[in-house]
Structures are given as C-alpha cells and as structure tokens.
Amino acid sequence: RADLSAYCLMLGDDALVLAQRLAEWTSRAPELEEDVALANIALDLLGQARMLLTRAAEAEGAGRDEDALAFLREEREFRNVHLAEIECGPFAGGDFATTVARLLVFSSWRLAQCSRLRASADPVLAAVAEKSVKELAYHRDHAAQWVVRLGDGTGESHRRMAAGLARVWPYLDELFTAHPVELRLAGVAVDPAGLRAEVDGVLDEVLAAARLARPGDVPPAARVNGLAGRDGVHTEVMGYLLAEMQHLHRSLPGARW
C-alpha cells in the first residue's frame, strides 16, 4: 500500500505540477481561443491530480487529504518528472513553442501510460486512467496541431519550434526510466520503459508532418547521484514553484477553504 500510495503520488504530481505551469499562461496566451484551451488542459490535469492525490492519501491511510499532500509536502517529497516542472514559458526559459513542445511530449507519454493503466489491478487507478485517456488524447492532438502549425508556419515559428523541442528533449529519457516502485507494482503500475516505442512513433509522426527534424544528439539531462524527479530530486526552479503554490496555504494553518 505504501508503494501504491507512492505510485499515485508520482502520477498525481506530474499532473499537478504541469497544471500549475500551464495555468501561468492564463491571460497571457497568444490568442483568446488558446487562453481557453490551455486553461482547459490545465483543468483536466488538475482534476486528474486531485483524484490521484486523493487515492494516494487513502492508500497511505495517515489521515491526509489532497490538500495536505499538495500544500504541506516539501520539495523532496514531490515525485513528478522534471519535464513537468521546468520553465517553458510564458515566463523566463521558454515561449509558446516550448510550451507546446513540452505538452506534446508529456501528453503523448501520459496517454500511452494511462491507456495501459486502464487495465490496472487497482480499480481506482483504472477508473482514473479511463477518464484521463479521453482528456489526454485531446491534449496531445491540440499540442500536435500547434507543433505542425508552428513547424510549418513561418521561418521564425519553425526556428522557435525547433528550439522548443531541443529544450525539452533532454527530459525525455527520465519519462522511460522505471522507478523501483513502478517495477514492484506489477499488474497495478505500468513499466514506463515499455512506452518508449509508442511515444517515439507518435513524436516522429508529428515531427514529420511539421517538417521538423528530431532533435539530434541530445544527451539526456543528468541525474544527481543517479536520482531524479521520481526520487524527489528536482531542478532549482521547483522550489520557487512550490513557494508560490504553497505560501498562502501554509500561512494560515487550520484555515478552511
């Protein structure tokens, strides 16, 4: 049950942290339609996060709830992959192209994961996956459309789209690296190593349609002592993300919201 809880945290934190990043676009998107679309995607992911954190809390059985997990854990206890936390815009470290590059990679990967998770031995995970699959298919298609539009748009958009892909590409490797918890939960969890071929296929197809080359010889982002997001070892931006997200909740202990 500790493993189940840890696994739900991984999946839940991926969704929560990316929702937090995507919501940064609110009132900043390149057009109003996109403001609506990105908020929709963020809302879907936030919904997935809430179900998964609630399941993690149940499995843990320590009386915590989704909010205790979201707002009262320290950085080292967050289990999301680095791809979800890095800055891809609208602020420093990215732009709209980088944002859609991340979204394409993330949603292709999560869709492959959730497709398989529908057969999980954990009925709650299976149900969450069932719901998520529909949402993620939309997210992936939305991102793919933008990658194609930008890749095959103007010279500037092509250049930016290629740069956006290059920026997120080092974080791919982590997505397919199994954590011991994932390996121990055979039948309940999905071994992410098995997702690579499917995700690569999707990415290749989209890049071809976008007239973009797959980023060349990009070494994977380095781990620290062999550890990365799934182990709670993050990048330096994560602390700032959590400070902003958690400050108010932590400022008023015992408050009701």
Binding site: L16, Q20, A23, E24, T26, S27, R28, A29, P30, E31, L32, E33, E34, D35, V36, A39, N40, A42, L43, L46, G47, A49, R50, L53, E66, D67, A70, F71, P90, D95, F96, V148, R149, L150, D152, G153, T154, E156, S157, R160, E244, M245, H247, L248, H249, L252, G254, A255, R256, W257
Partner: protein
C-alpha cells in the same frame, strides 16, 4: 425613411434587431463601443483574479478559480463575435484596448491583494455586473441579447461561488474572517462605482434608453444592488463600510453614502492603482503572441494553397 421607421418600430415593440436588418449608423457605432467595452472588461478582468490561481489555497479553489477565469475569456470571445456581426474587427478592437483608446470597466484597475478578494469579486463585482447586465438580456440587438443571456447565467454561477467561498472563510479562523472584512472594506466603494456616475452627471443615457441598449439609469441599478447586497452581507457577518447605510422604510429602500466620485473620475481617466499595469499586461501578451498568430495564418494559407493546387 421606411427603413428607419421599421427599425424604430421594431425597437419600440421590444423586438430584436438582427445583423441582417437595417440599423442607424449611430445605433451601430454605439453598440460596437458598448459591446467592445464589455468584451474588454471580460478580458482585462481575467488579470485581477488570475493573479491568485497559482496561489489558491486548496486544489478545489484552484480549479474553481481557473474555470472562472477561463469563462471570462469565453465571454470575451462571444462578445467580440457579437461586435463582428456589426461589422467590427476583433484585431482592431484589441488595438484600441491596448493603446488605451477604448475603456473597460474601471473596477479591474484595483489590485487583488488577498485570496478573499477572489470571493469578494465574485460576490460584489459579479453581483454588480449582473445587476447591470440582466436588463441587457432584453436589449434590442439580438446577438448581444443572446450573448448576455449566456453570460448572465455563468456570472450568477460565479457569484454564488464567490459568496460560498466567503461563507466558508467566515466559518474558518479569525485570520480568515479578518481577511474577508478587509477585502470587503476595499471593494465596497469601487463596486458602487461600477454603475457609473450619478444620473445627474451621466451623458448619453437618453438615446441609449430609447434604443433599448440601456434600460435603467445608473442610480436605479445602484439602488437595486445595495438593496440586494445588504441582507447578503448580514448573512455573511461582514460590515459594509458605509456609516450612512440604513433601511429607509418610507422609500422602501436603503439609504447609502456616495462613493468618492473624484476617485472614480481619476480611475476612469487612467490613473487608478493598476490601469497601466493591466493595459501593459494585455499589450505584452498580444505582442508576445504576434509571431504565433502570424505562423498560424501562414500555415492556413499554405494549406489552402495546397488544396487549391490539388483541385
């Protein structure tokens, strides 16, 4: 004069004018300006509330707030679409907004300084907006009236959510109750200003009334808002910061004090606490997005040409 006559009769009979119908140029221009200002208000209004999405203190409140701000973008979209039925161009209206040539509701020039502001904006600001907008569901221009019906429905939902947040906070800790009261103190007077200056100082009302694109005077709507809000404040357990506020049994309405109209004119004139910030934020988003819109356009053109070529 047959066309003008027919128009006048349609309007006087409380029937709808539709895009295909003839309408006087002044009606068209006034409507475009009014609907555009309303659209701009929705879009600028995303900022003060959006300011708290990343910091919302529970995941449920984060989701509610994000969905609400998203709805505002949606409202902006309907309303810009309504102006387009009148021949306006969205890009052109956006230029007018970011260059400061067209206004938006001044209330969004106040900062949001605590999470209670999210609740108070829902309760008071959306409440005032609804008072202003419900009559517009019966406005003479069809697309506008239909947009308003949809918008009012969603605004009512937002207003209830805001009030519910405040109720929850008032049932929480002392610090939360103090936060709510402080927020009400800041937003009460600006909310009253949302109905515009006193009737005596308001211009252009008569023609708009006749055209059925304005249906009540500022003071009527303000009174309605106060009468509606006072019992809600009581139920919530917050004080409204107006020493003159009391029930007047003779009038069957509440008497209340006047907002600082000098402040109102300063904010309308561009010098509110956040005017520059709000417009600069919108301008930056628009300019940063320029290359994306250009790419989307180039892409569509290429694909259209490809289809053409294939045909």
């Amino acid at each position: 004069m047959d066309l003008e006559d027919r128009f006048e009769r349609t309007v006087a009979a409380e029937q709808r004018v539709e895009p295909r119908d003839w309408m006087p140029e002044g009606y068209r221009r006034t409507l475009i300006r009014q609907i555009a200002q309303h659209a701009h208000s929705e879009i600028i209004g995303m900022q003060p509330e959006g300011n708290w999405i990343s910091r919302a203190p529970s995941l449920r409140r984060k989701a509610i707030l994000l969905a609400k701000v998203q709805d505002e973008a949606g409202h902006g979209l309907y309303l810009y679409a309504a102006t387009e039925t009148l021949g306006a161009d969205r890009g052109d209206l956006t230029e007018k907004l970011i260059s400061g040539r067209q206004k938006y509701s001044s209330i969004f020039n106040y900062p949001t300084l605590s999470f209670a502001d999210v609740g108070v904006i829902g309760w008071l600001v959306d409440g005032a907006a609804i008072c202003n907008q419900v009559p517009l569901c019966r406005t003479s221009y069809g697309p506008y009236a239909r947009a308003m019906i949809r918008i009012c429905k969603e605004e009512s939902f937002h207003q209830r959510q805001g009030y519910e947040l405040l109720m929850t906070m008032m049932g929480g800790t002392d610090a939360q109750r103090a936060m709510v009261q402080e927020s009400v103190d800041r937003w009460w007077w600006p909310s009253l200003m949302m109905f515009g200056p006193p009737d005596a100082e308001s211009s252009n009302t008569e023609q708009s009334m006749k055209w059925r694109i304005k249906r009540n005077t500022n003071d009527e709507l303000r009174q309605k808002f106060v009468d509606m809000t006072v019992p809600q404040a009581g139920k919530l357990g917050v004080a409204l910061p107006d020493p003159e506020l009391r029930w007047n049994p003779d009038r069957g309405h509440h008497d209340f004090g006047q907002p600082d109209w000098d402040e109102f004119w300063r904010v309308v004139g561009g010098n509110g606490p956040a005017n520059e910030q709000r417009v600069a934020h919108r301008r930056k988003a628009h300019e940063d997005g320029e290359w994306v819109r250009a790419a989307a356009e180039a892409f569509s053109a290429k694909r259209a040409a490809a289809v053409e070529g294939a045909a």
